[in-house]
């Protein structure tokens, strides 16, 4: 029955590394926006820097995996510092504008034919060991599930994809633990203080600029981590790291509840489940003739995301896990 199939597909999606990667990127964005009040409209840029930084280091520079990972983190940190230095002393709007531009610059650069040899241009970098470009063997060698089919209840996985799902979600869990430890510390409290009133914080002796920079770097490096996980299943492709990814991330953060520990995870799971379900719904509507068989009917689901985001902000701005009382202080 179509409904059951749709639900199963949604369940499968939940376990996929893509959902985990989005949860991780959302955790990074949550640190920026939810906790510190930094309006980062370029999180997709951090994800791209992580993905390309990692893949290029392995494929083009031939470096060992752990070095590639460090390079990806370092690149993201540098990216954050470059964005932060000119903007953190100014009003939040300036960071928003600069981050949109920076993310687009990253995307255009990796997409451009100019650097084709290195980045693969619009084709990107495909993970294909037989063709010599391989950035996931380091992970596969630890795979305990083998490469065959595995059945978990009604779901069917390949051993590899199950292994990747496990690894990525464990990483999400570890990062969530790290964020929890940081946010309950006095340092975590300074982030929220900066979000509320920077002048007051300065009058109490807090170095607001340094705090914002630390948050920007931390959230950015986590975003880079997400980039590495994102490209594992298949390929590094520039089109993925566009502003739509950033807005999807904002939807996820707000859906789950900004400035909550589990919000980004819950948000990502729900977001992707709903996307899969709505694609199934649209396909069904086309099948039964209600919706015309337009070639890009599946793209309709992204219009739904926009609608959902708007409704979310109007009716439940605190998201699922957020605190309603806090939101009420914004009306005045």
């Amino acid at each position: 029955m179509a409904l059951i199939d749709a639900l199963l597909a949604a369940g499968q999606q939940i376990l996929s590394p893509v959902t985990a990667a989005f949860a991780l990127a959302a955790i990074g964005l949550n640190i920026h926006y939810g906790y510190t009040g930094l309006i980062n409209f370029g999180q997709a840029g951090f994800v791209a820097v992580g993905a390309y930084g990692f893949a290029l280091s392995v494929v083009w520079l031939g470096l060992p995996t752990w070095v590639a990972i460090l390079i990806a983190f370092g690149a993201a940190a540098l990216f954050a510092v470059l964005l932060g230095i000119p903007t953190l002393r100014l009003r939040g709007d300036y960071l928003a504008i600069v981050t949109i531009a920076a993310a687009e610059i990253v995307r255009y650069t990796v997409n451009s034919a100019l650097f084709d040899d290195v980045t693969g241009g619009a084709q990107g970098i495909t993970n294909n060991p037989s063709q010599g470009s391989d950035y996931s063997t380091w992970l596969d060698q630890f795979n305990p599930f083998g490469e065959g089919r595995i059945e978990l209840g009604p779901w069917v996985f390949t051993g590899t994809s199950l292994w990747w799902a496990l690894v990525t979600w464990v990483i999400v869990g570890l990062v969530t633990l790290l964020v929890w430890l940081l946010m309950r510390s006095p340092w975590g409290l300074t982030l929220r203080g900066v979000r509320e009133d920077q002048e007051a914080m300065a009058s109490l002796g807090k170095n607001v600029g340094a705090i914002k920079m630390q948050a920007l770097v931390l959230g950015g490096v986590i975003g880079a981590m997400a980039g590495i996980l994102y490209v594992l299943p298949a390929a590094v492709s520039p089109i993925d790291f566009n502003s739509r990814m950033t807005f999807n991330l904002f939807t996820i953060v707000l859906l789950g509840g900004a400035a909550t520990i589990f919000g980004p995870i819950l948000g990502s799971i729900l977001f992707w489940a709903v996307l899969v379900l709505s694609e199934a719904a649209i396909t069904w509507l086309v099948d039964i003739g209600v919706l015309a068989a337009v070639a890009d009917a599946p793209q309709l689901r992204f219009a739904l995301v926009g609608l959902a985001l708007a409704l979310l902000i109007v009716f439940r701005p605190q998201g699922i896990l957020g605190n309603r009382k806090e939101m009420s202080f914004d009306r005045s």
Binding site: G193, E199, S203, F329
Partner: protein, 275 residues
């Protein structure tokens, strides 16, 4: 000419402080001294430059010219958070509580703690003890300021006067040596003002000098050891409260002829016998 006497043993000395906005001179202070271990009131009409002076001295605004020293240390040009760390802590005329944080969280942010450094944040044992001692200190202060019942409420849910109290208590958490209060009693319930004043009056004996901007002359007469009067950006009078407040130039510029008179008498006069 106005009488300007200087303080003995000043903790803060500022000279030649200039600040203008467009064509308007907001601050033009030749010399101002804040005595150590005393409570100084900074009074004057609106637009006299009191808050602008506060802002310049604490790094919240860049003075166009001037030098000042705090406890002998040159402070001009120092960034705001370093001024606060050096011991000059200010509050704001329009309160700045951290709204979506609780009262206790506001208080904890007042104090500097090892756990606030990113490098130490991850390992709880490195900051736990210091935080608990700050929590205790905060609780004592909240009781004194009668905010203890609100300890876990959001700061944004406090009324205007309660926010003033929170801001003052929070500033004390920062262990100031000079506490600079901008209209601390504005909006505070008159019945609470007396006990607050008692608390402020104790501060010098605890090693904290105080300078506060205030419009309520009853408050000034009650606790100020020293009064500085500003008008149109300049210091026009300085000295002990009694003589300074009786100074005709001060009365003219600021206090008004009716300042210690019951207005009902004036009203009766103006409205005649009809009521």
């Amino acid at each position: 000419m106005t009488a300007v006497r200087h303080a003995e043993d000043p903790i803060l000395v500022a000279e030649g402080v200039h600040r203008h906005f467009g064509g308007v001179t907001a601050v033009d202070v030749e010399r101002i001294e804040v005595p150590r271990g005393q409570i100084t009131a900074l009074i004057g009409p609106n637009g006299a430059g009191k808050t602008t002076l506060f802002n310049c001295l604490t790094g919240f605004d860049a003075a166009d010219a001037g030098t000042w020293t705090f406890d002998g240390r040159a402070m001009a040009g120092l960034v705001r958070h370093k001024v606060a760390r050096a011991g000059m802590v200010r509050t704001f005329q329009l309160t700045r509580v951290l709204g979506k944080l609780t009262v206790m969280e506001n208080m904890l942010l007042g104090a500097a703690q090892p756990g606030e450094k990113f490098s130490r944040a991850l390992v709880k044992p490195w900051w736990k003890a210091a935080r608990e001692s700050e929590i205790q200190h905060a609780e004592e202060l909240l009781v004194r300021f009668k905010l203890d019942a609100k300890r876990d409420d959001y700061a944004a849910s406090l009324s205007g006067g309660q926010r003033k109290l929170l801001e003052m208590a929070r500033a004390l958490m920062a262990r100031p040596r000079l506490l600079m209060l901008d209209e601390p009693m504005a909006g505070v319930n008159p019945a609470l003002v007396q006990s607050l004043l008692d608390h402020i009056a104790e501060l010098p004996s605890q090693g904290v000098s105080v300078v506060f901007v205030e419009h309520d002359m009853h408050v000034v007469k009650t606790i100020a050891d020293w009064v500085v009067v500003m008008a149109e950006g300049k210091v026009v009078a300085e000295g002990e409260p009694g003589p300074t407040l009786a100074n005709p130039a001060v009365i003219d510029a600021y206090l008004g002829a009716h300042h210690d008179v019951d207005l009902r008498a004036i009203i009766r006069e103006r409205e005649g016998s009809a009521s």
